[in-house]
Every structure is written in C-alpha cells, then in structure tokens.
Amino acid sequence: MPQYLLLLSHEDPTNFSDLSPEEVQKIVEEYKSWRGKIQADGTYVGSNKLRDESGKSLLKPNGQLRITDGPFVEAKEVIGGYFLVSAADYDQAVKIAEGCPHLNYGGRIELREVENVG
C-alpha cells in the first residue's frame, strides 16, 4: 500500500494564544478523534511535531559548505509537523487529509506520495 506524507503548515504559530482553555480543549479533542479514527482503520503510520525553530539550511556551492539559519523559503509559513499515512491512492489520501482539524484553523496541508522503491 502506498504511503503519503501530510505536511502541516500554518502562517502564525502563535495564533492560538487568544483561545480560551475550553476552546483549546475542543480543538485538542477534534484532533484526538481524527487521530483515533485513522489509527483504528489502520491508515496511520506515524507522526511527529517539528520544533518551533527555523532550523538550518545547508548548501555546497562551489564545493564549499554553507550553513544558514532557516527559513528555507521566503514563505511566512512554518511547518508544524507531519503525518505519514497509508492509502490506496491520492483520492483516498485526500479523504484522510481532509478530515484533519488542521484545515479548520487556517492551516495548510501539503500531500505527497512516498516513492515506492522496488
């Protein structure tokens, strides 16, 4: 079964700070139920949150290593984390991704199929 990578990005990582504790809990529970669903039907493979920092960017122009602090692209977007899921095809992967609460709170999901080696 092919695997798909869901890259979750959002514009401003602090846009949750005005939420009330009750609202925070509501969103946490939406994620919990989405996660529970993809774990139960076996599509969930793994997930990780990336640290809230811009990271490093490596380049070797003319054979010289150049390390710069991120962001890699000029976009204002930050990648918050990723999910790896298994799905029959893109249609099914989209179906899985569209249930992710991330989309309800101004986030963007980039969906990429993992190249199947073999």
Binding site: T14, S20, E22, V24, V28, K49, G81, F83, P101
Partner: protein, 426 residues
Amino acid sequence: MSFAHSPSVDESVDHLFRRHAGRMVSVLTRIFGFEKLDLIEDAVQDALVTALRKWPYTGMPDNPTAWLIQVSKNRVLDHLRANKKFQTTEEDLETVSNAIAADAGEVYFSNEVSEDQLRMIFACCHPVISPDSQVALTLKTVCGFNIPEIARAFLSTDYSIAKLISRAKQRLRLHGVRLGMPLPGELKERLESVLKVLYLMFNEGYTASAGDELIRKDLCFEAIRLCESLAKHPVTMSPEVHALATLFLAQAARFSTRCDNTGELLLLSEQDRSLWDEQMMDRAMQHFRLSASGETLSDYHLEAEIAVCHTFAKNYAATDWHNILECYDALQKRRFSPVVELNRIVVLAEIEGAEKGLIELENFRQNYDLNGSYLLDLTEAHFLSETGAHAQAAESYTKALNITENRSIRRFLEKKINELKASFAS
C-alpha cells in the same frame, strides 16, 4: 512528582483545560502573590497552547493533567528566572515545585475546587471591588473562562470586560489583598459577598436571556460546583451555603425542559417533569435538609424553599401554592422588591384566581415601576387569558412584545398571540 497513585483519568474529562487553568492560576498566585497574577495567567495559557500544538502529533499523554501541571510549572519558572524584576531565588522555585506537587496529589483529579481556589474565590469576591467585577474576576481566575467567553455570557464587549477585570486586579493590588481564608471575625461578611457572587453568576446563566446558551449553562454549573465546595469545606459550610446550593440545584434540575426541541420557551405548567434531572434533585434535597440545621433564616432559604416546592411537586396542579406564597410574603417582609412582588401576585392568582390577580396587578401598577420591563404586560396578558378575555390578552402580549428585544422571549410572546388569535377567530 509521582502520579502513580492517582486514579486513572478519563482523557476527555469535561472542561479539563478550564479546570486546570483555574487550579494552576490559584496555586501559583498563592505562592507568588497577586502582583504576579498576569504573568501566571500567561504562563498557564502558554502551557495549554503548547499542549494544543504538540498533542495532535504525539497523541494525548497517558495522564494529560500531570503533563499540563508539569508544563505550566516549567513555564512559570522560566518566566520568573528570566524576569529579574521578581528576584526569584532557587529556594522560591523549589517552593513552587513542592506546592504544585502537593496540590496535584490532593484534589487535582476530582471535580472539587482546591483549597487554593477557595482562597482565590475570597480574594476575587473582596468587597473593595464591585459585584460585577467580583463575578467577572472569579470566572476569569478561579473558573478558567477567558474574556470573550465572559463577554458572551454577559452580553458585553471584550473591551469592557477586559477593562473591568484589569481595574479590579489593580484595586485588589492597591488594597494589598492577599490570598487567604478570611479570619474568623470577618468570615460571615466575606462569605456573604462570595455567596452573592455565586447567586449573580447562577442567575446570569439561568435567566432566559439573549446571551450564548452554552456558555450560560456553564456559568450555572460553575456556580453549583463552587457552592457545593463551600458547603463541604469545614470553614465555610453553613446553613446559608446549603440553602444556596439547594436553590441552584432545584432550578438546574429543570434545565433541559425549559425549552422544547425547537428552542421555544416552555412554561412550568407545560414542562415534562419526568425529564427533570433526578440526580440534581437528590442533591438539592440533601442540601435542603442540611440548610435547616441552624437558627438562621436567610433570603436564600426562602428562595430555596420556593424552588423546592416547584421542582418536587408531582405535577403543576399539585404545586403547594400556599407554601410558596408564605415564602414570598416572608421575603417581601425582609427586603421588599417589585420583581418579587410580581411573582407573589402570580402565586396569589394561582390560589385565588386570575380576577384577584388582575386587581392586585392594577394596584401594583399604581405603586411600582419595573423600568419598562415586559414582565408586567406579560403577567397581565396571562391573567386576562385565564379569565377568557382573549382579545385583551392578545393586546397585552403585544405590548410586552413591543418592549423586549430578547429573541426567545419574543418568539414565546408571538406564539401566545397567535394561539389567542386562533381562539377568537374560530
């Protein structure tokens, strides 16, 4: 800090985050004092947002409460270390850790409010600030509501509520209010002020008004939770506290039947009593018994008895109107109020008939003014329709309709007018 001994925690505990916020803010404020309240509130909020940004990827920890405590604590410590102004020593930081651990072990996993929250309630309800500020501040710091939620419940703006709260905090700081249980000599007065805040909080939630329905219900349940905690605490338990808990629970037991499934308001006589919350009724009855244990009789006792008469009547016709009338008479003797007088007339009319009600109402109109409230016309319309004067009744309902903007009340009045019109058209 070990949580191995803690009972297992249901991950989706109702209001876990809100409870957590209230509890953490209270314990940290006891240790660091009121002057750092804003910093503490920020740190606790920060921990919640951290959870929100992490748990989607990692899943919820086995014990989310313990996780939240740990992270909130670390956030406060970070802030304190970073902020030279507070001159925090490592010793202070150690104190925080221990205090949080102790608090967590104690009552963190129950629905009850902690000892620190009780102290915080007394600080928030300090008589140096106005009753409105007391309610708003209690909801914010003790109960974990945020400003937009309080504004929604009070039909106010975020700006006004934020201003109200920041002024209240400033005033408490100015008066050097400390977190602590009142001294024995001042307990009675301070407790009265707390009970009044709970009374206002509950009524704000219970009165059918235009605010957000869900948040208003939460207000009622918070008032009940705080009141029942006061009723259990050895320092604050008193017949008066039990009376207030009775009043809240006897009313809240009828919550689910106040509207039909389309959201239309239903009169007490139209409600399906089999749907009333038996568990709350039981608790109401327990508190009612305990409220009778002393010599004192408070307004809350009388109001509680009225609520109990309504909630425990087998059906509408079986309501003990004579008992209710006695309570209203007693209330009016203690402290006259035109609104209560109107209620008293309604009860009197149940006993002596709608004609008597109309006479009393005419009397009332000549003596009192309800500041243009629709209640007077509504009551008159009700009496008129009882006596069969349908056209006049419709007229009075229309008068009431013209002076209220509350949508659910308006729908209710429109329904009554249509029913009456149908009856004299046929």
